[in-house]
Subunit: 260 residues, 2 copies
DNA sequence: ATCCCAGACTCGTCTAGAGGAGTCAAGTGC
DNA sequence: GCACTTGACTCCTCTAGACGAGTCTGGGAT
């Protein structure tokens, strides 16, 4: 497969680096540059277009910012190949799944043929932040149990999560242990008599913070989903808030809405 | 408010432009640079840090890519102030809302005190793409009615949407008119006997394509939600697929999941 | 008082270099 | 045969300029 790029249009008032980016972007969209393929090197593009190094780099930077390419130091620039995505169905926390004795993440990942793992588990107790307090119906003077962890598939991190539970409920229970046991937090809550009724999920999309780029090993130009889930017991009380950040190219979220 | 930036750390092996970006990012996070505030000019930063123009620009570019700042040609670089967001509740298509005679978007926006409008309405008939055909249970030889439009709040575009309906159902009806009448597409479908049962929504987050940046007037570093909704009638038939792209900083999506 | 324009200041694009560091493969020496 | 060195190739960081174009303000002409 020979890649041929058009020349520059000197009559256009579109900046040169954008024109170059356009050519490459089109080649990627046409699959002339397939996912994983190597983009022509900076030197090649310089001579092809007869422009300075920085001009070519600006073009490549643009594509990287759009999430279309990744640069690998010493190797080249490559068309990004999207990892297989995980679909999160809206029944993922249904009791029938939980009853099988596995936490939602573990069960789903194995079903999809991946190797799930969890690391960086940290547990502490702290004052509720004002946002968490509001969601849990507490005050900022109330203590909450904070469980943070990172989820990985086949060794690659895809999601970080921090759960907040009223310390009055979860303190001293197995929920405060690193291993929460079969079925995870939600199974423990139900055993303790907090029968779960429903979850509220709030979803934002944004560019990641620096820590998130590191924790999720995100390529430049990858946005994240920021999802805050609140679990409600049957008596209407909020029993958990889970704040998760997910790599957007590892997930498709899926929900069912009633029409009536 | 006087902004004071630290000097460079010559012992650090972190590149200079990243150090400069760090300083500015921290100032923004600390609110020393409040939303809407002007970031020191390139010239100022050059002399403060004693570096070349391109180095300063790289730092600013980084922040822009993170969605933290916007540059305005001739005026300066400013800390981005987020527009008020619209919350999309999971009952937004419930019949009780539709019965009030307004389409979901119009009703919701007015309720929030904004001025909704719709433009760029285009209607055509075409062969179903393979994706749309699959979702609607058709073949690629079947015709679909294609309705595309753009939604604006207070004159600012926030969302583009393209609906696909089987031409066999919607062709020649009011759904094929620019003005679909009170309650919108879904009200017409119900009048025609397709009582709606539920919707499936699939959500991705990604960086926008070039056209999307233009259509939604997106600032650099703003990801989009890409949402595909399929409407199902009570007999289980898919009657509409709606493909929408939304500016991520205009929306928070909100869903309710059952726990049982 | 008003209008217009020049100049200062801003960011945008581009050039033409430099040295650094990671990757890979071919060739060298053992 | 194996380990190591070397060099070519890659992207990364940074310098020091040039010109262009949008914005704003103050001063001069009307």
């Amino acid at each position: 497969m020979e890649l041929t790029l058009p020349g520059l249009d000197p009559t256009s008032d579109r900046p040169v680096f954008k024109q170059i980016a356009d050519h490459l972007r089109e080649a990627i969209e046409r699959k002339d540059l397939a996912p994983g393929a190597k983009v022509p090197s900076e030197a090649t593009l310089m001579t092809h277009y007869g422009v300075a190094r920085m001009t070519v780099r600006s073009a490549l930077q643009l594509l990287q910012g759009e999430g279309l390419t990744v640069a690998e130091h010493g190797r080249g620039v490559f068309v990004r190949s999207r990892p297989p995505v995980r679909r999160l169905a809206s029944d993922r926390f249904a009791r029938r799944h939980r009853d099988r004795g596995k936490a939602a993440f573990i069960a789903e990942t194995e079903e999809a043929g991946g190797k799930p793992s969890v690391d960086s588990i940290q547990i502490s107790e702290a004052d509720a932040s004002s946002d968490v307090a509001k969601r849990l119906g507490l005050t900022t003077r109330d203590k909450v149990l904070v469980r943070s962890r990172r989820y990985l598939i086949n060794g690659h991190p895809v999601e970080t999560a921090v759960s907040y539970l009223p310390a009055a409920i979860a303190g001293g229970t197995r929920i405060a242990e690193p291993d929460t046991g079969p079925g995870g937090i939600y199974a423990r809550l139900e055993e303790m008599g907090y029968r779960l009724d429903h979850f509220d999920e709030e979803i934002k999309a944004r560019m990641p913070l620096r820590e998130e780029v590191k924790a999720l090993r995100l390529a430049p130009g990858t946005p994240v989903f920021h999802l805050v889930r609140t679990a409600f017991a049957e008596d209407g009380m909020a029993v958990e808030v889970c704040d998760t950040v997910m790599s957007s190219d590892a997930y498709v979220l899926s929900y069912q809405l009633p029409a009536r």
